[in-house]
Symmetry: C2
Subunit: 392 residues, 2 copies
């Protein structure tokens, strides 16, 4: 499953990300304990965190099948592993496309067709090797035969020149939304001819829906749904409001949660609530006419990643709360956590709880299982699937 791009490509990637990243500084991370772990929470109940699976190679996303089992992507291994009754299966799923593994690339997101009962497709986002040592962000789908993917085919290959991540989500309209990371400081997030720093909207077959907001607008790629993003690291649906919510990773500060309005500008790189990694503010002003303000933001950054609203029955006091993964705090690695955001009836933030911070794991994704528990992925060499349950 592992494939290496050319040394040239790797060199270019290393160069890009060196310019992009701050001076590396890391708090030593203790090994993940075997668990289960017990925590008090601010809403007055206790939780137990079980380590369901470990030894995964940088797990990135998790999706649940109708039978209650789950598929977990491993970014670096470029593989999909299955959890049945909470147990990790030894064999990887077959039918996964070849990927370019790397720090910032590999096999990424996974999502089920919204009409999975009739169209049992599984969608993947990944970094696809191209001739000449190049790569592209691509979206593929394969038919689920109950055990593996079959007839996996690309539905869309994004012409972004270097490896760059991408979250995907089916909207309430049945369309496929995909957020394309930027990968350089001078991001073309506002450039209408580039897909970087954009949220795009595709049909499940990878075509351009006829009602996309920029169709017919001079210079704009018709796939574009919203622009001026930095790096959309999470996408989720609000369970009752039919809204798409997106996490966006800021620089040194300025992580955001945005509510997605079609055709809108989210301001990067002209406005941000953060600093550049070298110290100066990213922008003179924190806001700009015509750019949407975030609903939630962080200073310092927690390196926001995957998120989900909780609407299960198992944690009644968490219903309506947003859970957001965090990979590092304050530009110091080794400080991951999970955050819970509690809103009022108008979806305005009332409070924010930091959870699992003692584990210091890079939390890449969080999803609610069909059992009402929360499943948490740690994007580590010894990557794990954690399950949050009420304490017995």
């Amino acid at each position: 499953m592992k494939t290496l791009g050319s040394a040239l490509l790797m060199g270019l990637l290393a160069w890009n990300h060196q310019a992009w990243a701050a001076e590396a500084i890391t708090l030593p991370v203790p090994p993940l304990p075997p668990g289960p772990l017990h925590y008090d929470t601010a809403e007055g109940f206790a939780i137990e965190v079980k380590v369901l699976a470990r030894g995964l190679d940088h797990p990135w996303s998790i999706a649940f099948l109708p039978d209650g089992s789950a598929l977990v992507t491993e970014k670096n291994a470029g593989a999909i592993r299955r959890l049945i009754d909470g147990k990790l299966q030894t064999e990887s799923i077959s039918g996964v496309p070849e990927v370019v593994p790397g720090v910032y690339s590999g096999l990424l997101d996974i999502a089920l067709d919204p009409d999975f009962a009739n169209q049992p497709y599984i969608y993947l986002s990944y970094n696809k090797p191209l001739p000449g040592g190049l790569s592209a962000v691509a979206y593929a789908r394969g038919r689920w035969d109950g055990h593996n993917l079959i007839d996996t085919q690309d539905i869309y290959v994004a012409d972004v020149g270097t490896a760059s991540g991408s979250r995907i989500l089916f909207g309430p309209d049945g369309m496929l939304y995909a957020g394309l990371y930027v990968d350089v400081v001078q991001a073309p997030s506002l450039a209408p001819e580039s897909l970087k720093g954009k949220l795009i909207r595709l049909t499940p077959e990878g075509g351009v829906p006829a009602d996309n907001p920029f169709i017919g607008k001079e210079g704009f790629r018709p796939e574009i749904y919203t622009y001026g993003h930095r790096t959309i690291t999470g996408l989720t649906l609000h369970p009752t409001r039919n809204e798409i919510w997106a996490t966006e990773m800021g620089p040194n500060g300025g992580d955001e949660v945005n509510l997605i309005y079609p055709g809108n500008n989210y301001g990067w790189p002209l406005v941000s609530l953060g600093r550049s990694y070298q110290g100066p503010w990213q922008s003179e002003k924190f806001q700009m006419d015509g750019a949407v303000d975030p609903l939630v933001y962080w200073m310092p950054s927690i390196s926001v990643s995957g998120m989900t609203f909780y609407d299960g029955a198992v944690f009644p006091l968490w219903q309506g709360d947003l859970f957001v993964g965090g990979m590092k705090y304050g530009e110091i690695a080794g400080t991951g956590q999970l955050q819970r955001i509690h809103f009022n009836a108008d979806m305005q933030e009332l409070r924010r709880e930091s959870l699992l911070g003692d584990l210091r794991q890079r939390i890449r994704d969080v999803k609610q299982g069909p059992d009402g528990y929360l499943y948490v992925l740690t994007d580590e060499d010894d990557g794990a699937v954690l399950r949050i349950e009420p304490a017995p």
Copy 2:
């Protein structure tokens, strides 16, 4: 030493702070362990935290005498306790004025005269009981006789109508700076006739310096040095830049560190980077022409408190860093911590480290001792003095 104001006053205070505070929600706090505690830090060295003293009644501030001993104020007890060779003395210091104890009032800050060798005065900020059950923020000084305060007298009584905290600091100019908290939501921080939400500047005798920036300006109290503050909870001098830095507690988000420029407006309540406790943004815009932007800010809040720059020899890798106390994170009590902020040569933030978060103590003050260690006060019923040392 304990004095109660009238039931009426207490009732008014309770009402004010009920309107002011969010719905109370608290993470259960474990008892402070006996220590010493061992931590790895992000700069690659380990520290040991010793519990030097405990059982203090909400310690609020600490000041070091030339002999290396330290004086610690107890907000609720209205007392000063002395640490000699790191050991808490049983007897309180005598000569302390009577205070109005309460959640938000009592004996607060303590500072030595900048010319202590010749003028051994010790300055206090406190809430002074007034006739009719009223109170005022007051500043007093007493002469240190080697054991106690003698001839303690008020030098200035601020005509703010309810109990409200106040930090004090001697500036590089030898003048006494004092930040007066606001205590209601609709703060008069911009009102030039009110002292609330202001930084004032006094002579060591409590008079108004002739070069104060608003002298002769229509409507302005001549004591005022800067305005438009919410609640200045910390004041410190930059050790080499001759600058006064102030922490300012925001609402739900919008905690700040500000560099103080004479005569300037810091924007509260018209601009803030935070939300009101009920959820809506405090202000439509995050910035305002004519209002100074913070150098550092937090979203969510950590409830910033006392702070100090580190310039000792014991922790070479911390030199130039700012340490800031935090009393709660994200509007959830029981989540105190100490933060370290690392800057570039232009005093622009590069990273931020959270320390002692596992203790969940309300950290009210942090100061560097003459021994180069950091001393940390926990504003708790079982309040403590912690000392941070390099791990042996």
